[in-house]
Symmetry: C2
Subunit: 372 residues, 2 copies
DNA sequence: TATGTCGGCACAATCGATTGTGTAAAGTAA
DNA sequence: TTACTTTACACAATCGATTGTGCCGACATA
C-alpha cells in the first residue's frame, strides 16, 4: 500500500528525508521541527540550532506539496499566454519569472494557442494546482470572460497584462500605446517632417487604435491637419505596408515621414523607400513600433518604440503580489500603463545631434551568444 | 485553526468542492467517489454515473496537491534554462510546453541566468515541488555536475537539451551541429563556390567546434584542401565577422563563399560584402546558422540553418516521458541528435532552380501580429 | 442446503507539513 | 512562599486524495 520507506526500490535511489525523520532522530515531536524551521517563538534557541544543524546535515528539503496542501496556498504563480514565441511574450515571461522567483514564487506556464477553450482549460488546471495567483494575457478568440469569474469566486488574485479585459474593475498592466504613437510622431516632427504618413493596423484592436490616436494627438498639437490620405490601413504585413507607402509616394504631395504602427510595416516602408531611390532619413524618415530584434540590423537601423516587455512582467508580478498580500481584503482594482520608450535610430535621426538611442538593444545581449 | 469550511471569509468567495462534499451528498464513502472518478473496476456502473453527474454539477476539480502528495508524484515537469530570451530558448520552451500539456503534464520554468548557483537552487526547488521529471539546459558557468547527482539519487527522470553534460550515461537531445556545418558547406559547393571561408566561433564550445568540423568534412569530400587562411575565429559578433571577411577579401585569392557559424556573423559578412561592392550571391555566397528572425528581412535574405527548436523541446519531452514511464526500471541512457534543416535563401541561391526554402519562416507567423 | 466466488462498497491508514490547544517546568512578582 | 506569567515543547486534528484490506449480499456450483 504505502511505498516502503527507507528501502531502495531499485538500485541506489533514495527517498528524501521528512520532518518525521528529523523528529525521530532528535527525539522530539514534528511540531518542534516544523516550528524550529519556521523560526517560531515558542522554540528555544538551543533547540532551533540543533534542528537547523540536523536539517543541514541530512540536506532536508521541505515537501512543498504537503505544505501547500495544509496551508491551502502554494508558492506557485500561474501564467496563461497565447504562445511563447516571437519577441514580446518570451520577454514578458522572462520579467515575470525573474520578479516571481525574487519573491520566492515559481511559475507554471500555460499556452492558450489563441484558443478560448484552451484558455479555459488552462485556468482549470491552474486552479486545481492551487496556485497563489494567476497572470493572463488573453487569447485573440476570447470575447466571453465568464471563465474568469470562477477564478474570482475562489478569491484568487488575478492580473491581466497586455491583452486585457477592458474595464476598471480588473487589475491590469498595459503599455500606453497612445503615448507611444504620440512620442513617435512628435519625434518625427522634431526632425523636420511636415507630412507624416501613418501605416495603421486593424482599428478593432485597441493597440492600433490607440497608436493612431497618439499620432493624431501629436499632429494636432503641432497644428497640422488630420489627413486621411496619409493614413494607410492594413494588417501590418511587410508587403502591404510597402504597397501603402508606394501609393502615397505617387501622390502630388508625398509624405516626408512615416510612423508605422509595427516594425514589420516600418521595414516594408524602408524597403519601398529604397526601391524608390529615396534616402532614409534625409528624404523620408521612418519609425516603427515594438523594437523587434531586426530593427537594429537593417540599413539604416529603424527607430522604434520599446514596449518594456520585462518591466511589464515585473509590474504585473508586483501587482499580483500586492493582491496576494491583501489576502482577500478589499482591494481597489488598478490599471497600470507603462510609458513606452522611444529608441531613436538612423532611420529617423536627421541631425547629428539627435538624441542617441539608449542602450536597450535587444540583440546586443545575444550577439555573442547567437548559438544560445 | 483550520480554515472554516463552507463559510465565505469575506465577500462572495467560494471554497472549492472536495471529494468529501460529493461523498456526503451521495451518502457514500470517499473511496467510492475516488474510485468512481478514476474508473476503478470495483465500482458499479450505476454508481459511477451518479458520481460523474454530481461532480459535473458541482464543477468538481480534484486538488492536484493532495493527489500528488499521496501518490508521491505530481503532474509537473521542471525546466531549467539559462534564460527565456532571444530566439532559441523560448522556442524550445514552446515545444516543451506543447508536448507536455498534450501528455497531461504542466511545466514549471526556472532561469539560471547562466549562474551555477542559481541552477543548483532551481534544482532544489523543483525537487521540493515534487516534479515528475526535469529538463535542463546547462548554464555557461556549470563545470561541476554534482548537483545533478541529487536528482539522480532521487530516481528522478532527467533529460538535458542543447547544452548538455557530455557522456553516454546521460539522456540528452541536441542538434547535430556537425551535420549542420556539413550541409551548409555542401550547399555552397553545389552553388559553385570553390573557395569557401568559414567564420568560426570559439572552439572551446562544442557547437562551434562541430560546425567547423562539418565544414571541413564537406571540403574534404569535395576534394578541396583545408586552408586555415580561410578560417577566421571570433566570438561571432557582427563587427568582428565583418572585419574577418574584409581581411580575407584583400588577399590575392579571395573567397567566393562564406559559411558563418552564426547568423550575426553572416550578417556582418553580408554588410561587408556590400561595402566592398560585391554582389551577393553572384560574387560571394553567404550562409549563416540559427535561423534568427532577422535573416528573412535582410537584402538579400540570408541562407541559414534552422535548429529545430520546437522539435528539440518535443524530443526532450518524449524522452523524459519514456523515463517517467520506465518508473525506475533500468533504462539505457540515450542521446538524440536532431537533423538540422538547411533553409536556402537568396544570399546563396545562385541558380533560379535552386531548391527554395521550405516554409519555416519564423517571422511569418508573427508578421501580422507584430504587436503580439 | 452448504460452500465458493465475485461484484460493490466502506474502513482506515497514509502522504508530509501545519497549527490550536494543552501542559509541564522555569522564571517573575508580590 | 504563593500565584501568575512565560517558556518550551507535545498532542492530535487537519488539508484532500489514494489504496490495501475487510465485509456483506447475490449468485453460481456441487
Amino acid at each position: 500500500m504505502a511505498p516502503r520507506k527507507k528501502q531502495a526500490p531499485d538500485l541506489n535511489t533514495t527517498t528524501p528525508v521528512s520532518m518525521a525523520d528529523l523528529a525521530r532522530e532528535l527525539g522530539v515531536s514534528m511540531t518542534t521541527i516544523s516550528r524550529a524551521l519556521s523560526d517560531h517563538h515558542s522554540i528555544g534557541p538551543a533547540m532551533k540550532q540543533k534542528v537547523l544543524k540536523l536539517a543541514k546535515k541530512y540536506n532536508y528539503q521541505p515537501n512543498r506539496l504537503a505544505s501547500a496542501l495544509r496551508k491551502g496556498k502554494s508558492q506557485l504563480l500561474g501564467i496563461v499566454v497565447p504562445y511563447i514565441e516571437g519577441r514580446f511574450f518570451p520577454s514578458v515571461v522572462h520579467g515575470i519569472e525573474t520578479a516571481a522567483s525574487k519573491a520566492g514564487y515559481n511559475v507554471i506556464i500555460c499556452q492558450s494557442n489563441e484558443d478560448v477553450a484552451q484558455e479555459r482549460r488552462n485556468l482549470d488546471i491552474l486552479l486545481s494546482a492551487q496556485v497563489a495567483g494567476i497572470l493572463v494575457s488573453l487569447s485573440r478568440t476570447t470575447h466571453d470572460f465568464r471563465h474568469f469569474e470562477k477564478v474570482r469566486s475562489r478569491g484568487l488574485p488575478l492580473v491581466f497584462f497586455d491583452r486585457i479585459v477592458e474595464g476598471d474593475n480588473v487589475n491590469a498592466v498595459v503599455l500606453d500605446d497612445q503615448e507611444g504613437g504620440y512620442v513617435s510622431t512628435r519625434h518625427l516632427l522634431q526632425q523636420g517632417c511636415r507630412r507624416i504618413a501613418h501605416l495603421a493596423g486593424p482599428q478593432h484592436l485597441n493597440i492600433y487604435k490607440n497608436r493612431r490616436q497618439g499620432y493624431l494627438d501629436a499632429l494636432r498639437e503641432a497644428g497640422l491637419p488630420e489627413d486621411e490620405s496619409l493614413i494607410h490601413y492594413s494588417d501590418m504585413a511587410q508587403g502591404q505596408a510597402a504597397e501603402g507607402l508606394r501609393q502615397m509616394l505617387t501622390s502630388a504631395n508625398p509624405p516626408d515621414g512615416v510612423f508605422a504602427a509595427g516594425d514589420y510595416a516600418a521595414l516594408g516602408a524602408l524597403q519601398e523607400a529604397h526601391r524608390q531611390g529615396l534616402r532614409v532619413p534625409e528624404d523620408i524618415a521612418i519609425s516603427g513600433f515594438s523594437n523587434e530584434t531586426f530593427t537594429t540590423v537593417t540599413q539604416p537601423p529603424i527607430t522604434t518604440i520599446d514596449q518594456r516587455c520585462e518591466e511589464m512582467g515585473q509590474a504585473a508580478v508586483r501587482l499580483l503580489l500586492e493582491l496576494i498580500d491583501a489576502d482577500g481584503r478589499p482591494f481597489a482594482p488598478r490599471q497600470v500603463a507603462l510609458r513606452p520608450e522611444l529608441l531613436v535610430r538612423n532611420s529617423s535621426a536627421r541631425t547629428e545631434t539627435a538624441p542617441t538611442s539608449p542602450v536597450r538593444d535587444p540583440a546586443a545581449k545575444f550577439m555573442e551568444a547567437s548559438a544560445q
